[in-house]
Amino acid sequence: MTTADFAAFSNHAVMFASIVYVLAFLSFVMEWAVARKTPATVSVTATAPAAERELVAATAELSGGEGVSTPAAPDNSADQDHELRVEKWGRIGVALMVLACGLHFLGLVTRGLGADPVRVPWGNMYEFTLAGTFGVSVMFLLLMRRYELRWMGVLVSGFLVVVLMLDVLVLYVPAGPLVPALHSYWLVIHVAAAVVASGAFAVGALASLLYLVKNRATERGTLRENGYLSRLPELTVLDRVAYRVHAFGFPIWTFAALVAGPIWAEYAWGSYWNWDPKEVWAFITWVIYAAYLHARATAGWKGRLAATIALIGFASLLFNFVGINYFFGGGSMHSYAGN
């Protein structure tokens, strides 16, 4: 294949990936639509004594989303049938996510091969977004296996569809070479680590968001019996999942923002820390996530406060990604990313 072929292939792969993400999203929607017709098993445990609930919550985390993949002794075969259909749609959704993620990866790789000379596929906003969404997708799939996060699928796939769509429609630029400041293998390491960490933080932010929403609904007593919220894992599980995902992302972010980034800056600009807006916001994001971990470890500040801090952290991450390039323009040395 020639360079131009690769570039064209990349565009097609991204398009197909988007379409498959849409299909995955629809499957997850179906999963929940079918589930709505079945009483959630959680509603049973919600009335159980506290100690038992903790136990259920803890096992639910290991064995799958509450009531979704563990039909807890349905009382008749119709219910069992329903649960099977729920399970089926969920699995189709996951399979489609894996397929879309593979296509996404192909799109990313061929984007790099489609530039002359061949380079890493993250040199402008279009490519950063492509790589960032890929990070979210991969991290979701990996973490899903580990922490049983299928209940998040509908939100993650929906998020990916919207962001990829915007990326292709608004940010697209044809493949081209890098500006000289970006010729460094530290850039490869820096961005790769930032993408992985951002992916984890995105998943963590979703878990924290769901925690807050469910917490509010629980407090107000507006939790509908078989709605999405009541089928989500217990609050304690949501909180714990959010913590684990953030704990996974934080050291990687530390490495990306405070090791790889400064080393690259040292080579490119002659000073490892320049208080450039992009650096400042990477630092701010880091400090907020450190505060999150502190809040999570402080008795009484777990839960709602910690979840709120996690969301603030993610907002600052997003702002750094999007806002700096748009609002600060030439004020940031990193702004060539926005050309």
Binding site: A50, A51, E54, L55, A58, T59, E61, L62, D116, P174, G176, P177, V179, P180, A181, H183, S184, T236, Y243, R244, A247, F250, P251, T254, F255, L258, V259, P262, I263, E266, Y267, A268, W269, G270, S271, Y272, W273, N274, W275, D276, P277, V280, W281, I284, V287, I288, A290, A291, L293, H294, A295, R296, A297, T298, A299, G300, K302, S316, F328, G331
Partner: protein, 533 residues
């Protein structure tokens, strides 16, 4: 759930929040109370937030030590806000009193938090796993089973299983206590210590280091002394004696621009050949200086950060004498390298001469836009200048930028065709061309184009400390986040002719999957078959 959490906290190390209102106390006790407040986890959290907040303005308002030119532009546009912002230190946020106050408080809090924890950890390291609580069944994860085996046999097996899981194990009063994951706290302490190390390394570099920019025309040289710099940003404890006696010549410069494709005109690569000496009598060495490929000599680094054009001109005055000859640095304005610059000729007689205008590497012209550059390479170079005569204002003693003309006492020449060309005369020169100024005031010849490079020279001591600190910090952090400390107790008592075994675990970190583990232990301890683990 809540009741359980508090129970859990009590079993845990004492990390109770201090009382939030000051009791009526003697000064000593009050000081102690204040210290406890400062070193509490909550304060640390609030200070972390404050630090994040305090860092924000520096990304919004232009900063003096980053881009002094932008600061002055901003100040010109906002004359009312400037004095207020100046008072608040908003043009130098990261050196301001309030920013320093936040991170110094945080560091004090950190040390105050760190030292006692070190002591507690030291004790905990050497202590035996704590005694089994009386009611094991009340712990969040508890199991019981009964068996015909003797208690000693069950407990012996429990010890073996737990040891093989790298628990520290003791047996007291018919119960086994076991604990694991001591390194978590060590990792956490290491991480917090490394925060201090990084900060010290960073501060050292900021205080004793320097960073300077110098524009050197290709073919000319540079020696490392203060007077040679165009801009210089020293740390507050820097002394000029710290400058290394480095010198170099810029021999040649290469740049390649893309000549096709959607990013046409973008530089693909640029580099400069330099010859340097680390001391005046050292042997000269050659180096190929490029972006991401700095020159490093004895802790001083030289970076290639930019480039541009320096048109060479010869200016003759009204008497026909050469009043100026040589390259003049023009600063690029856009990606096509339209470059702005001024030529000052104070030695011209009878009147001083000044020129202001653009250098265009590939000349283009439209009525709407005026002269512009079509491509960054000098394919069809031209100078488009407005000449002035009069007094350059250099004698007043006030410092003047070499990139702008003080036009107070300068007059432009009238245009020949004011209707079509505007009121002011403008001259266009291509290489080799000479233009006579009106009234016999002199002439200017465009001799040719040379390039300049912008180099940044910097020295940041403490770099290694900062880097080493972060790397060790990450290792500590991983220990702190991923090592899961556990306590497990097993009690076996003879009751009604059978042995009742109680097994309970406690997760001392905040994200465990304890149930699974306790189940697993239960299975291994309950089987009579010798487990192979």
């Amino acid at each position: 759930m809540t009741a359980q959490t508090t129970g859990l906290e009590k079993l845990d190390e004492p990390r109770d929040p201090p009382p939030s209102t000051p009791p009526a106390l003697s000064p000593v006790e009050l000081a102690r109370w204040a210290w406890r407040q400062l070193t509490s986890m909550r304060t640390a959290l609030v200070l972390l937030f404050l630090l994040a907040l305090a860092a924000v303005p520096g990304s919004v308002v232009p900063q003096r030590n980053i881009d002094a030119v932008k600061v002055s532009q901003w100040q010109e546009q906002h004359p009312q806000l400037t004095p207020i912002y100046d008072k608040l230190g908003l043009f130098d946020v990261y050196g301001s009193v309030w920013f320093s106050a936040v991170y110094i408080l945080l560091m004090v809090s950190l040390v105050g938090c760190f030292v006692p924890r070190l002591r507690i950890y030291w004790r905990a390291m050497r202590a035996e796993p704590p005694r089994a609580p009386r009611h094991l069944g009340r712990l969040p994860e508890a199991r019981t089973f009964d068996t015909d085996e003797k208690p000693e046999v069950v407990l012996a097996r429990a010890r073996k299983v737990l040891r093989s899981r790298r628990f520290r194990v003791v047996e007291r009063d018919g119960a086994v206590s076991a604990e694991r994951g001591y390194l978590r706290e060590a990792g956490n302490l290491l991480f917090h210590l490394s925060v201090l190390v990084v900060l010290v390394g960073f501060a050292f570099g900021q205080l004793f280091g320097y960073k300077g920019g110098v524009i050197t025309v290709v073919g000319q040289g540079f020696s490392n002394s203060l007077s040679q710099y165009d801009d210089f940003d020293p740390g507050s404890l820097f002394s000029p004696d710290d400058l290394d006696p480095l010198s170099f010549d810029v021999d040649d410069f290469h740049v390649k621009f893309l000549t096709s494709g959607p990013e046409m005109g973008q530089p693909e690569s640029f580099d400069a050949d330099v010859t340097y000496r680390s001391t005046p009598d050292a042997a000269p060495r050659k180096y190929d200086l490029a972006v991401n490929h700095p020159l490093q000599v004895d802790g001083t680094s030289v970076f290639l950060v930019g480039h541009g054009y320096a048109p060479s001109v010869t200016v003759r005055d009204g008497n026909g004498d050469i009043a100026y000859q040589g390259p003049v640095v023009f600063l690029p304005q856009d990606s096509s390298f339209s470059s702005f610059g001024v030529i000052k000729v104070p030695g011209a007689k009878p009147a001083q001469l000044g020129f202001e205008g653009l250098f265009l590497p590939t000349y283009g012209f439209t009525m709407k836009q005026g002269p512009f550059s079509q491509f960054p390479d000098p394919l069809d170079p031209a100078l488009s200048l407005v000449p002035y005569h009069g007094d350059l204002g250099l004698d007043t003693g006030a410092a003047q930028s070499i990139y702008s003309l003080d036009k107070d006492k300068l007059t432009p020449y009238a245009s020949k065709d004011p209707k079509r060309l505007g009121p002011v005369a403008r001259i266009k020169l291509t290489p080799g061309q000479t233009v006579q100024l009106p009234n016999g005031d002199g002439s200017i010849r465009f001799d040719g184009v040379r390039r300049w490079v912008k180099l940044q020279v910097s020295h940041q001591p403490g770099k290694g400390w900062a880097l080493g600190g972060v790397v060790i910090g990450i290792l500590g952090l991983m220990g702190s986040l991923f090592i899961r400390p556990r306590r497990v107790w097993v009690r076996a008592v003879r009751r009604d002719g059978r042995t009742v075994v109680e097994l309970a675990g406690l997760d001392r970190s905040s994200g465990g999957d304890l149930a699974d583990e306790v189940d697993d232990l239960h299975d291994r301890i309950a089987t009579t078959k010798e487990s192979k683990a």
